[in-house]
Symmetry: C2
Subunit: 607 residues, 2 copies
Amino acid sequence: AVSTTSGGGSEAFRQAVVNTLERRLFYIPSFKIYRGVAGLYDYGPPGCAVKSNVLAFWRQHFVLEEGMLEVDCPCVTPEVVLKASGHVDKFTDLMVKDEKTGTCYRADHLLKDHCKEKLEKDLTLPAEKAAEMKHVLAVLDDLSSEELGAKIKEYGITAPDTKNPLSDPYPFNLMFQTSIGPSGLLPGYMRPETAQGIFVNFKDLYYYNGNKLPFAAAQIGQAFRNEISPRQGLLRVREFTLAEIEHFVDPEDKAHPKFSDVASLEFLMFPREAQLGGEQARKIILGEAVSKGTVNNETLGYFIGRVYLFLAHLGIDKDRLRFRQHLPNEMAHYAADCWDAEIECSYGWIECVGIADRSAYDLRAHTDKSGVQLVAHEKFSEPREVEKLVITPSKKDLGLAFKASQKMVTEALEAMTEKEALDMKAALESKGEAEFQVCTLGKTVAINKKMVSISMVKKKEHQRVFTPSVIEPSFGIGRIIYCLFEHSFYTRPSKAEDEQLNVFRFPPLVAPIKCTVFPLVKIPKFEDVAKQIAKSLTAAGISHIIDITGTSIGKRYARTDEIGVPFAVTVDSTSTVTIHGQSTWADVMWRFPTHSVTANDDAADQN
Amino acid sequence: AVSTTSGGGSEAFRQAVVNTLERRLFYIPSFKIYRGVAGLYDYGPPGCAVKSNVLAFWRQHFVLEEGMLEVDCPCVTPEVVLKASGHVDKFTDLMVKDEKTGTCYRADHLLKDHCKEKLEKDLTLPAEKAAEMKHVLAVLDDLSSEELGAKIKEYGITAPDTKNPLSDPYPFNLMFQTSIGPSGLLPGYMRPETAQGIFVNFKDLYYYNGNKLPFAAAQIGQAFRNEISPRQGLLRVREFTLAEIEHFVDPEDKAHPKFSDVASLEFLMFPREAQLGGEQARKIILGEAVSKGTVNNETLGYFIGRVYLFLAHLGIDKDRLRFRQHLPNEMAHYAADCWDAEIECSYGWIECVGIADRSAYDLRAHTDKSGVQLVAHEKFSEPREVEKLVITPSKKDLGLAFKASQKMVTEALEAMTEKEALDMKAALESKGEAEFQVCTLGKTVAINKKMVSISMVKKKEHQRVFTPSVIEPSFGIGRIIYCLFEHSFYTRPSKAEDEQLNVFRFPPLVAPIKCTVFPLVKIPKFEDVAKQIAKSLTAAGISHIIDITGTSIGKRYARTDEIGVPFAVTVDSTSTVTIHGQSTWADVMWRFPTHSVTANDDAADQN
């Protein structure tokens, strides 16, 4: 009796979903009575319940199952932390301003809209020009500020609302800025991600974990991005909930003990080569993707598998879920590999989870800025003998030879790589002298045997000190939920076939309300039983609604279908109920002991 | 075997608690590697788990049990909303500045510290001066900016760090300010409370509830206060989690159908009269407090009772929990009544939950500012005949008589109360003329029969339209958790009696980790069983740690006691375990079927 409505086109489908979501208060545009603020949404009662359920399951699936260390850090963050992480300098979008009104636009959006419209509507567009615009769309994310500005000028793009000329593009930092304390001297930002709170705590968390690797820390919390002009409704918002995992691992050993648990999973993957070769995403067995090196390492692969299981469990359609590998130009220079879990919805394929091997970048950045060593130690069971290069410049002899330049020559000698030092050692031994380029002086100097001693010394080391790599799965909870809504939405004809009814069919895990309870007929005896059952459900922690309005059964189902209630309990008599399941549409008659319908009895447990 | 350590003085006790909390990472000063930021703390792994548990119980106890509508609104809030609520103008503390260095201090803190120190340490202080300073301390919260400034001058108080002179006190707004969007033209703030998000949604929520009162909405989320100089460690912070309930009710009927469920509860209450009479808080039966009018109404009383049950269930010591009524000078002018749940800890009695009847203030404020009517309707079963006063000024006659002042006279006439209007009607009928005071003109004018017609008209009304009252229980989650930590903390001597061990004894509901699993002796067969049990616990969603380090049983208990693990499972053989409960200190031997230690079997359920 259920039919999907993907026939009406994705715009119409989206409108039907969003209408239902807003009418049933899954979402409310924030501060609506004040005409709202772009990019801010409230979760109303059913939306809020779905979010709670998703987060509770996330905690079970990741934090509890993997023994992760969950932390909870503030949103207000002092500038120094985000300076170290690179956000103060680089977390920007390019913006252009209407030169007369001052209205701001994202430069890439304007260029994208212009090209798309030309390609779709301008029938006179020469083939050459069309090809060029297609190319612009393909490389849009890689264009520099200058290139974007040049294209905007070349195409004569003006402000969409006024047709006024536009300024050159310039970077706008996407963090909400504020000031901490009353002095105005301590700038701060609302965090753009939760990860930094974990990185700065690495030392304590490593200690908490018994100074052992690997371990993972996790955080769920609000993050903020002051978007220039939010679009795509619920997908691009200015405040959102992130759930992030930072899994710290020895860079020399990224094997994962539980990889075999996920190795046989098979799902849509879209490796770099397939993208560059113009192919489609295809089903790949995860174990093979790792063994063939498509996925960089087992730990990264393990998390890809766990993310897949998480999303599938929530009710994301497996055929509209793919893992897409970042292309080289998308990835930060320090990243070893990166895969996005993308979910297809009416807006296209949307990045909902990013799973990146960020190598040692973040811990090194905070070590440099704070001066606190964020490192791990591997104690050797027995001390190991290692050869170490020792360079000892003789300041006295260097001073006699280079006078005021002595310091720069000394520093340059100390900074030699192992190869440079060994080459110099060989030259000094064979010729007694060596040419040496001192960059800071901008010239080559002659070094003799007296000036420096170079040797390889054998040392015993008791441990290895290193900066761990971090593998980061980062979940945009709001995006996942929105895609879940689209994937759970159907319409079905009403009984009289005179209208289409909206249905959300959620897995019980996700459903905002698990159960409706209503008497078959509106008589006090049945109502009492319904109330007793409701009480039992409450005590068992099962969300439900009790409907004693006496409207028709069909109408009641329609009403609860619209908010995705998976079960209904109909009180047929004082001793039996019928349990109706949304997903099977089968009814089960169930006799319960009237004398024991209390808070703690079986009635509650078995529902 | 357990002894409390309240002997060492509250400072020493607090130090012991805080040391344990920080060493075991319940809390971490945020951004510690950058020397931190005053008033910002992270929850580390066990603290974060406690917080999750408290919030989950809050949802069960309030949202689910009472069928509340939970919402989730953004922290970023546009100025207009907080202008309407009064926060932009009035959410301030008085601040003084060191006139040379610019360092800021809270004016009342400096005055308080000065008086306290004088009273404690200055043995030469004349009795008269001492009495005056005691009075200053008593009325500290009521002092105006001018009075505070005068006292600071009079006592010669200088900047604590530099002894430099101080500025006059001036108000500092405690909200973190930011700017929404790229234009810089839309000022916003990080919300200082979650309540406003609910008020602005009243209309939608009322509709969601079938246009029926009463109903409650709830919200859990971050709130922000940019404190001038945070003190009291974990109790006064700049970012914190609030859980707030807004219960909307007909102002003419504040009865509560479930009040009888809590009426017989008896606990410490501290009514206004007892405070003013210099008495102590005393045990009062809630039902009597409401029937005698000590508590303003049943709904307020119901929430006081539910808050009591909530806190007691969490493990707050009932003897260190009291409900203190606000004194008239503490309460906003619009509030009908207000009670704080105060918990005693080493800092004294701390306000942890505020339960206020805020009457119609908030909804009216947003109605006025937004122009959207935030009202409820009571449909009458039959239309009711009501008498309504109708005042119709004759603008023409008023204009002839008062020329340019016509508008002000007209408005004053229309604004008359029923009594004033009826008095004027009587005067006009008997004498043909009446004296009338027009405030806006600052004088009395003569009104005659032609200028205004006043009559009582009978009208049929089909419904009553009114602004609901709101009863608001507001929970400072961080403060509750901190007090809970103090109330759960003990020390006990080690077995050798050579040291004091730290113990948190949490109710299982709150405990961050529910269970430790360890083999009695370190042999592979027992370790395998321990791992099987751990797997079952994970599948059942029960947090636990598995300890196969092989250290002594006593040391393992000490380690888990310090993070308040309530249960331990010791693997004695391949077929039996001993379950050890922290609160009873009794051991239970329990035989389990080895063949069925799997994810779904009894082993998990019964733990």
